[in-house]
């Protein structure tokens, strides 16, 4: 078999131009499919990087907007206080969302989004630029402290380290204890963080009195039981609000499932494009292999005359097709990964700051699959044609 491969390679090398033309279609097809795979992995990596900013120890519950008795479904502060005793695995339930209020830093006056925050265990994955995040003491002691987002930092035209200075929200003064760095949300324009995050205990005390709570954020003890706790929380809400109320939950998994759904659609389209390019490439190979068999009729006649059996000729042409396919797919693999990784590097990584690993295994499996399918589907017939040529006719062929 090794000898056949060497023989096939020497035949292909002796006919370089023909060989290269034969695999051109395959190279293009495989390149396209693999480049899109690598790109897709880069995109998925970027999205996951963004979701990394969402803590997996929390979920949000909010009433459906369209339901018969929205007032009945509304979650109240009193409900939240009972939640941690009523629902297993819930440490705390806090108001989610925030309020837009005027804030002042020095003489800069801006409208900012105030949000309720929990301590670091439930905080987002956003990096810290200055100071610290909220801690358990801030929560427990209802301190008047705040953490600014990078957006707020820019809004107030801050420079240098602002921690230790004060931010005025309405009548109240908050000590700035930390500033978050840029979150990895460049590619998708959502901001996970409120402009100004204050301890949820402080938030409840000053900003929830008399106002409806739009949504509740549940803080969990065990991050592996998000789905179960969500179900328990909903059951408990129906118990206290009546069975007709409708709620939605929102957690990291919900988001990634939604994004996964989009990617599944994209993948299907890519798979279809791949199938079409496979077909086109295969027909190209079939055509050129048949031309090659016709062109080499005398050669085949000679090979049979000097003692090659049918099986040997079949094997030889089949291995030639296999070598061509393998070569085409290898080049396609390298080009595809190269192009995909470059586009990732210059577009996605620049925007999102997330470097996703190249999906080598999947790419290699795809390329190998292409080579196998193309060879079996389109290399067999020409090889069989060559093998069954009558040597006398073949030698007479002009």
């Amino acid at each position: 078999m090794w000898q056949y491969l060497l023989e096939a390679l020497s035949v292909l090398a002796a006919n370089r131009v023909r060989s290269l033309l034969t695999v051109l279609g395959l190279v293009i097809g495989v390149t396209a499919v693999i480049a899109i795979q690598v790109l897709g992995a880069g995109m998925a990596g970027a999205v996951n990087g963004i979701l990394g900013g969402v803590s997996d120890r929390t979920f949000v519950v909010f009433p459906n907007v369209q339901q018969t008795d929205f007032t009945r479904a509304a979650i109240r502060l009193a409900d939240l206080e009972r939640a941690k005793d009523a629902v297993p695995n819930v440490i705390e339930a806090i108001p989610a969302g925030g309020q837009s209020l005027r804030g002042a830093w020095g003489h800069v006056d801006r409208r900012v989004l105030i949000g309720a925050g929990a301590d670091e265990r439930f905080a987002t994955g956003s990096p810290l630029r200055f100071g610290r995040k909220l801690n358990a003491d801030d929560i427990g002691l209802q301190r008047n402290v705040c953490v600014l987002s990078d957006v707020a930092y820019d809004k107030f035209h801050m420079s240098g380290d602002p921690t230790g200075t004060s931010l005025h929200i309405g009548e109240r003064r908050y000590l700035i204890v930390g500033v978050l760095g840029k979150s990895t949300t460049g590619i998708i324009p959502i901001n996970i963080n409120a402009d100004v995050t204050i301890p949820y205990t402080t938030y409840e005390r000053f900003y929830t009195r008399g106002r409806p709570i739009i949504a509740a954020r549940f803080l969990l003890d065990d991050r592996t039981k998000v789905a179960q706790t969500e179900a328990d929380a909903l059951a408990w809400l129906r118990e206290i609000k009546g069975s007709r109320v409708e709620y939605q939950t929102f957690d990291r998994k919900t988001i990634s499932q939604a994004i996964d759904g989009i990617f599944a659609g994209v993948t299907l389209v890519v798979a279809l494009i791949g199938a079409v390019s496979l077909l086109v490439a295969g027909i190209g190979i079939l055509n050129i292999m048949l031309v090659s068999v016709a062109e080499r009729t005398r050669e085949i006649g000679l090979r049979k005359a000097i003692g090659a059996t049918r099986t040997q000729v079949l094997l030889q042409f089949f291995i030639e097709a296999l070598a061509l396919s393998a070569f085409g797919c290898l080049v396609g693999l390298v080009l595809g990964v190269g192009i995909g990784a470059s586009v990732n590097h210059f577009a996605i990584v620049k925007l999102s700051g997330v470097v996703a690993p190249i999906p080598w295994l999947r790419s290699i499996v795809i390329a190998t699959g292409f080579a196998t399918v193309v060879t079996l589907a389109f290399g067999t017939y020409p090889a069989w044609r060559a093998a069954t040529l009558d040597p006398i006719e073949a030698l007479r062929y002009e």
Binding site: Q3, S10, R298, I306, A308, T309, R310, Q312
Partner: protein, 231 residues
Amino acid sequence: MSDDAIDVREVTKTYTLGEVRVEALRGVSFTIARGEYVAIMGPSGSGKSTLMNVLGCLDRPTTGRYRLDGTDVSTLDDDALAAIRLRKLGFVFQGFNLLARTSALKNVALPLFYAGLSSRARNARAAERLREVGLGDRLDHKPSELSGGQQQRVAIARALVNDPAVLLADEPTGNLDSQTSEEIMALFRDLHATGRTIIMVTHDEDVASHAERIIRVRDGRIVADEALAQG
């Protein structure tokens, strides 16, 4: 009897071309001893090409028996015939039939590939045969870089590389000028002198006169079988 290289008994060959039955061979019998140098002559349509194909194990007789080097090959299947061609026959064609873009050495080594020899053994034997036909300094030349006579020498080296019982040459000088033809004939004479069995199909009396025996075919039958005095 088994001492003969070739033993043909009442061989016929009938083709069906559409509605028409063509009796290419109508009962041919002869023997060729080992070491003989025989020319088969006949006008076109005489059946000499068919006879050549049968002798070369490229085709099976319709009836009759053919023993090659002691083996009855008249009823063997395709693969068995291929094995016989590989081990017992060497072909030289009018059009040389060398692989283009492939060195003389690789061309000569080709039959040994099908015999399953290692690359090193193939190249060593092929180089030896090329030296025997006077092309020891042309191993790496491609056919396009060789003259017609040199190409035919490469083809002869290829035919001899597996040490065949019989060398079959089909119009070996048909594509060559007269001086080059003389050189090729001289080479055949040398090969004959070393004990090779050579069968040559030709329509050229001058070429045939180099053989020691001429079998003349016409209308599918042998019309003459004459020995030539060697000068």
